[in-house]
Structures are given as C-alpha cells and as structure tokens.
C-alpha cells in the first residue's frame, strides 16, 4: 500500500489552494474551513447584533416607538438563536479547525471531507433559520428556548422550519465535534501526550464530548415539538396526559451543558494567552484540566436550576440548588489559576492580554450573579427578570465573545502573516469594555426592581436605567465595526509578522512560518 500512498503524497505535497470559488466549495483543508467558519460566524454576529440594536432601540423609552410587540418577540428569539448557533458555536469550531491541527502537530483534521460538510450544513441550517424572518406570520417568537405550548399551540407557521433548522445545525455541530475528538485522540504528533496538550486543545476535547452528548437530546426535544404540532401527539399537552414541563426538562438537559459548550473553549483560549503575556507557564495546568472535566460532568446535573419556579418538588429544588453551587468550586480554581499565573509575571498589555484580563474580571461578575441565581428561594424573585439577562450577557460577552476576540488578535498574525494595529486594537478593547458595562450593568438593577424580560414596553420607573443601557449597547455594537476595520486593514496592509510574534508564546503553532503554509506538519514533528 505504501507505493500508492507515497506516489499520492508526492504529487500533492506542494499544492497550494485551488483557484476560484471551487477552493471554498470543495475544500478539505482545515485552514480554509477554519477561515470560512470564522468569517461566517462574524457575519452572523453582525446580524444577531443588529437584532439586539432593534431590541435596545425599542427599549430606549417606555411605550411603543419603533416596532410592534410581535416583531419585538421575533427579535429577542432570533437574536438568541443567531448568536448561539450562528455566531459563538461556529466561531469556536473555526478556531478549533485552524488551531487544533497546528497545536497537536497534525497534517489536517482527522476526517477532512466531513469537516467541509459540517461547515456547509451550518450555512444550510442558518439559511433556513434566517428565512423564517420573511415568512407569513413571521419568525419564531417564543424565545430561543421554544417552550411549549408557546411553540406548539401558539407558535407561528415558521416553527416547523425552525425545528428542522435546529436539526441541521445539530447535525453540523455533532459532525464537527466528532472530527475534533478524532483529531485530538488520533492525530497527535509523537510525544504529544494528553497531559502535554495545550489547554485550548483540552477544553475543546471536553466541549466536543458535551456536544455529542447533548445535541441529540435537543434533537429529541424539538422532534417532539414537531410531533405535537403536526401529528396530534400529546407530549407537552396535559389534556392528553403529557406535561409542558417535560419539554423544559429535556430542553435544559441540553441547555445547561450547552452554556458550557459556549464557554469552555474560551477558558482554553484564556489559558493560552495569559501565560504568553505574563511570560510564565500556566499555573496549575493539571488542576485546570481536572477543573474543566469537573465543570463538564456537573453540567449534566444542574439543569433544573433554570426551572426553579415551575413547581419542582422540594427535594428537587434543594438538589439542583446545591449541585449548581458546587460548580463555583472548579470555576473558582480556574480563576485562581489565571490570577496566580499573572502574579509576579512580567506582564505586558497587548490587545489579546487586555481581552483576557477583561475576561477574568467580567466573567467573574457574571459567575457571581450566577451563584445568586442558584439560590432557589432568591431565584423566585430574579426569575425571568432583567437580572437573568444581565447575568448571562456577563458570562457570554466577556466570556465567550471576549475569548473569541482575544484569540483573533492572538492568532491573526499566524493566520494572515500580518500584524494588526496595536493602537486600534486597544481602542477596540476599551470601547467594548466601556460599552458592555454601560449596557449590561444597569440590567442588574432593573431586574432586582422587578422588570421582566421579553417585553417591548415597560413602566416609566424603569426608563432611566433602560436609556443608559441602550446607549451602552449602541457603543458596544458600533465598536465591533472597528474590529472589521482592524482585521481588514491588518490583512491588507499590516506589517509582516514573524513566525512567533509574541515573545512569551509557547507551542507548536509558533514553529511554522506566518502565515501558516497551506499544508503543515505533513510529517509529524517530535514533541519532547
């Protein structure tokens, strides 16, 4: 067999990319696919951001100014779906595609054709999801959680399209996750033992496991919605012996691991960046690995903390309250380790490091409001208020999104071979940081004062905080256009970057030239 393989290897060694559109449609190259994922997810980020701007513009004043309440509900629903399934998850898959083969010394992802299919199914699912905006009766309007009976008895026609788009996006993510696991288990260079793997690779390994474990559960939940809508079943209808709360249980059994899917890769990114710019190895690498695994395992045991007010039996309330609080322990281990890595380091504050430090500070804010929400009796007051909105935006924006921003600045020199403007990068960080806090900090107060989420209108006493929040949201939104400009300018005309542009960086990805050649590590490197 080796004769055939060698002959093949010989004729494709020096191949660059194919020409024209076919390169992108038919590619099996992990770097091409990673780039497509990143560009597509950014486009979705802008689309989802535009929906957020509509929401915040309407909420600038009490009363109805800009949009109908029905359309407002479509915006909150689609904003959540687009950001989660279209922006954050694909961005992480794009980073995994680009970086995991480079970090473990593999020539490509383990299953390259399936990799391409994962990406194009993401586009397929997103097209169906976005097309619902233009249908009679409008897009889904029941919140991204699609609770029955809002989505069954009272859902618009487009719910059916939404259900199938979730199926397709789920298939795409599962295939992507299988590819990541196969690559990490099977494609590591000789000497790259599991406990030598970079933290980004570790966190993605665990994330991929979560994806494969819970996306089929979501598929089951939305399939039952479909059956209730079109085939007369009674899964979520108590008149036939079913239970709407059953939907919530299945959904959140998916949904809680899902929120860790949205954050664990960012934990990995931060664990790469903080050591680089502190010029010290990561403190407590082993405990970081175990903490990540512990968070993943606990994520399966806490789903009902999203449902404290549905009338759970008392033992249920207690179990899910305590189980949720335990998550603060491994998360605390991580935050302690990041801070300890910085302690007495020789720190410099390039843009990736700024975003990483912003992550540590603001994610902790979101984590602490999470502990407040975990307290079942207190949650009866916070539930479905803007306090919850503040909480999960504090973990998702300075968590997931800052992780992605940090990684873009950190690895852009490797991807494009060029440096971004440090001054503009810092401006992007500070504008985002200020905008984000102005937008979301007041929501804590609004929530504690009793303002419910998902309404287009509100009583006048909430007006001041809402106006502040809207101003902050527009500042945050506008500053993301700066990111487009920074990346565009860097790629077009930025100064050339070295193979290792960051003095303190470690890892295989910095041993290949910048930009990384089309094919890397066709012969595996040795890791000592």
């Amino acid at each position: 067999m080796s004769a055939v393989a060698d002959a093949h290897a010989a004729d494709h060694h020096d191949h660059g990319p194919a020409k024209g559109i076919g390169r992108w449609l038919f590619t099996t190259n992990h770097k091409d696919i990673g780039t497509m994922y990143l560009v597509f997810s950014f486009a979705m980020f802008i689309a989802g951001g535009a929906m957020a701007m509509i929401i915040r513009a309407e909420l600038f004043q009490p009363g109805l100014q800009m949009v109908e309440p029905a359309f407002f509900n479509q915006m909150t629903t689609m904003h959540g779906l687009v950001m989660i399934f279209g922006a954050v998850m694909p961005a992480f898959v794009g980073l995994a595609n680009w970086m995991i083969p480079l970090m473990v010394g593999a020539p490509d992802m383990a299953l390259p054709r399936m990799n391409n299919w994962s990406f194009w199914l993401l586009v397929t699912g997103s097209l169906i999801l976005m097309s619902t905006l233009f249908m009679d009766g409008g897009a889904p309007n029941f919140g991204w959680t699609a609770y029955a009976p809002l989505s069954t008895t009272y859902g618009p026609d487009s719910t059916t399209f939404f259900i199938f788009s979730v199926h397709i996006l789920g298939i795409s993510s599962i295939m992507g996750a299988i590819n990541v696991i196969a690559t990490i288990i099977n494609m590591r260079a000789p000497g790259m033992t599991l406990m030598k793997m970079p933290m980004f690779v570790w966190t993605w390994l665990i994330t991929a496991f979560l994806l494969i474990a819970v996306l089929p559960v979501l598929a089951g939940a939305v399939t039952m919605l479909l059956m209730d809508i079109h085939f007369g079943t009674a899964f979520f209808d108590a008149a036939g012996g079913g239970d709407p709360v059953l939907y919530q249980h299945i959904f959140w059994f998916f949904g809680h691991p899902e929120v860790y899917i949205l954050i664990l890769p960012a934990f990995g990114i931060i664990s790469q960046i903080i050591p680089t710019f502190s010029r010290k190895p990561l403190f407590g690498y082993t405990s970081m690995v175990y903490a990540t695994a512990a968070i993943a395992i606990l994520s399966f045991l806490v789903w009902s903390h999203h449902m404290f007010t549905v009338g759970l039996p008392l033992p249920g309330e207690l179990f899910f309250m305590y189980a949720t609080m335990i998550i603060a322990v491994p998360t605390g281990v991580k935050i302690f380790n990041w801070i300890t890595t910085m302690f007495r380091g020789s720190i410099s504050f390039e843009t990736p490091m700024l975003f990483a430090i912003g992550f540590v500070v603001l994610f902790t804010v979101g984590g602490l409001s999470g502990v407040m929400l975990a307290i079942a009796p207190a949650d009866f007051q916070y539930h479905d208020t803007y306090f919850v909105v503040a909480h999960f935006h504090y973990v998702l924006i300075p968590g997931a999104i800052y992780g992605i921003f940090a990684s873009v600045y950190y690895w852009l020199p490797k991807w494009s071979g060029r440096m971004y403007s440090e001054a503009l990068g810092k401006a992007h960080f500070w504008l985002s940081f200020i905008g984000l806090n102005i937008a979301f900090f007041p929501m804590h107060f609004l929530g504690l004062a009793g303002m419910p989420r998902r309404y287009a209108d509100y009583p006048i006493q909430f007006a001041n905080f809402n106006q502040v929040s809207t101003i902050g949201a527009f500042l945050f939104g506008a500053s993301q256009l700066l990111l487009v400009f920074i990346v565009y300018r860097a790629v077009k005309s930025g100064p050339k970057a070295d193979a290792k542009p960051w003095e303190g960086a470690e890892g295989l990805e910095w041993t290949v030239p910048s930009p990384a050649p089309y094919h890397t590590f066709e012969q595996p490197p040795r890791v000592d």
Binding site: T124, G220, F235
Partner: protein
C-alpha cells in the same frame, strides 16, 4: 500516534456541498409540506422540492461512499486512518445513544412524575384540580381530557409479536456474530450466508413491526393522537424501527460488497461499523421491550 507515513488527506470533494444542497431542499420541502397541509394549501410544489432533495441526498451518499471505497481499495488508508474511522463511528453511535436516552428519560418522566401528578399524587397533586376525577394509570387508557384525546381501547401486549420480534433481533445479532467470526477466518461463503440471514431477520422484524402498527391502528384505537401512551409508544418504537431500517440498509450494502469480493480477514472496517450499529440497535430494542412493553 502517527507513523512516519503521511496521513491521507483528500485534495477536494464535491460531495459535502452536494449533500448540503440536498439537505436544504429536503428539509425546506418537508417543512413546506407539513405547514401547507396544516393550512389546507396545496402541497404539490413542496413534495417536488422534497423529492428532488431526497434524490440529491441519495446521489451524494452513493457518490461519497463510492469514493471512500475506491480509496480504501487502492490502499490509500493507513492504520491511523483506520483509527480515525473507528473514532468517527464510535462517537456517532454515542450520539445515537444520547438521542435514545432522551426518549427513555421522557418515558420515565411521564410514567413516574407527570401522569401520577395529574392523578393527584404527592406534593404536586394540585394538578388534579384541572381534570377532577382523573385516575392515573399506566398504560394510560383514559386521558385527562378524553374528548380532545380519545384514549386507546387497549395497548399491544408484550408476549405476542413484541416477544417474537425480540427473539428475531437477538437471533440476528447471533447470526451477525457468526458471520463476523467466519470473515475473520477468511471463510467467505459462511460469512455471506450468515450475513444474508441477518439482513433477512432484520426485514422480518420490520414486517412484524408494521403488522403491529396496523393492529394498533385498526383494532386497538392506539394511535399517535390517542394521548400520551400512543405518543411515546409510536415515537420510541418508530425511531427504533427507522434505525433498524438504516442498519439493515448498511448491512445490505456490506453484503453486496462481500459478494463482489471486498473486505479481507484482517481489514474490514466497513463491515465492523455496520455490525457495531446493528448490535446497538439490538440493545436499544431489548431496552424498549422491557420498559415500553413489559413493565
């Protein structure tokens, strides 16, 4: 870990994008069929879109598999590639396990929480105020609102067709193992005969399953819309039946390849992947038999 041989990375492939177009047409068409049907509109165009999409998907699957088989037989795959395929198939089956786990979880929740609570049991017995006099029982023959969801007259007992089907599927797992053993000793004739027997038993299982559904619909009034028992019964056995169908198609393709002379005693991952899937489907059935039919 890697040998010094380079890993086979195909240059490019049209199949993923063809498959994506197929998925788009199939599911857009299917959604339109369902929505138009509910609204009483014409479904002709939607059916055409769906059919075209399904044909594109079939074209994609056959073309993609043909490429993979050709590469495999040309010797382009090394031991590391083989391990990637094994990883891929194992985790795919794991995702299927997760899917069925969600269905079993739903069944248990309905049986042990939702229905008893509706019947007034425990701290959540207030739910009973909605339909006074509702009696919790399992299988649920009288629904809380029997005018909206007319309950079934009775349900399928375990000791007739379901028991027969259990024996059939267990037997098919045994014949499959015999076939696999024969392949490992390079005895091709018994390999083919035992595998053909496995596929035949799978087809027989599906035949009896359809028989059972006909019985349920025509005599027992046990239907998808006869309340929660019918809902969960058809959901679980129906999805299992679809998996038997898929597993049977996989094994049939493997059988055709065996007849053409593919696979060797030490190199037959395509065969093994099909076998893994078949055993998985078998295990799910035994769980179904115990928890849906018997208990």
């Amino acid at each position: 870990m890697s040998s010094n041989q380079s890993y086979y990375v195909p240059e490019s492939s049209i199949w993923p994008i063809v498959g994506s177009v197929g998925m788009l047409l199939t599911f857009f068409g299917l959604s339109s069929v369902l929505v138009n049907q509910s609204n009483g509109d014409s479904t002709t165009t939607a059916w055409v879109v769906f059919t075209v999409g399904a044909l594109v998907l079939i074209y994609m699957i056959t073309g993609w598999l043909r490429d993979v088989i050709r590469e495999s037989r040309a010797g382009l795959y090394d031991a590391q590639m083989d391990r990637s395929f094994r990883q891929g198939m194992s985790w795919f089956i794991f995702s299927e396990v997760a899917f069925f786990a969600a269905l079993f979880g739903s069944l248990f929740y309905i049986r042990f929480f939702a229905v008893p609570w509706l019947g007034g049991e425990g701290a959540k017995g207030t739910a009973n105020m909605l339909w006074e006099g509702f009696q919790a029982q399992w299988p649920l023959l009288t629904n809380p609102d029997n005018s909206q969801f007319a309950g079934p007259d009775s349900v399928i007992g375990p000791w007739g067709l379901p028991l027969l089907n259990t024996l059939i599927l267990v037997a098919s797992s045994i014949t499959l193992t015999l076939s696999h053993k024969a392949l490992k000793y390079d005895k091709r004739k018994p390999t083919i005969y035992w595998l053909a027997a496995t596929v035949a038993l799978g087809a027989l299982f599906l035949f009896f399953q359809i028989e059972e559904y006909v019985e349920a619909y025509s005599h027992l009034n046990l239907t998808l819309d006869s309340g929660i028992y019918g809902s969960i019964f058809f959901l679980m056995t129906g999805f299992h039946g679809l998996h038997v169908l898929l597993g049977g198609i996989i094994l049939f393709v493997v059988l055709m390849r065996l007849i053409k002379g593919h696979f060797s005693a030490h190199d037959h991952f395509g065969y093994e992947a099909g076998a893994w899937y078949w055993h998985f489907v078998d295990v799910v059935w035994i769980m179904l038999f115990v928890f849906v039919y018997v208990i």
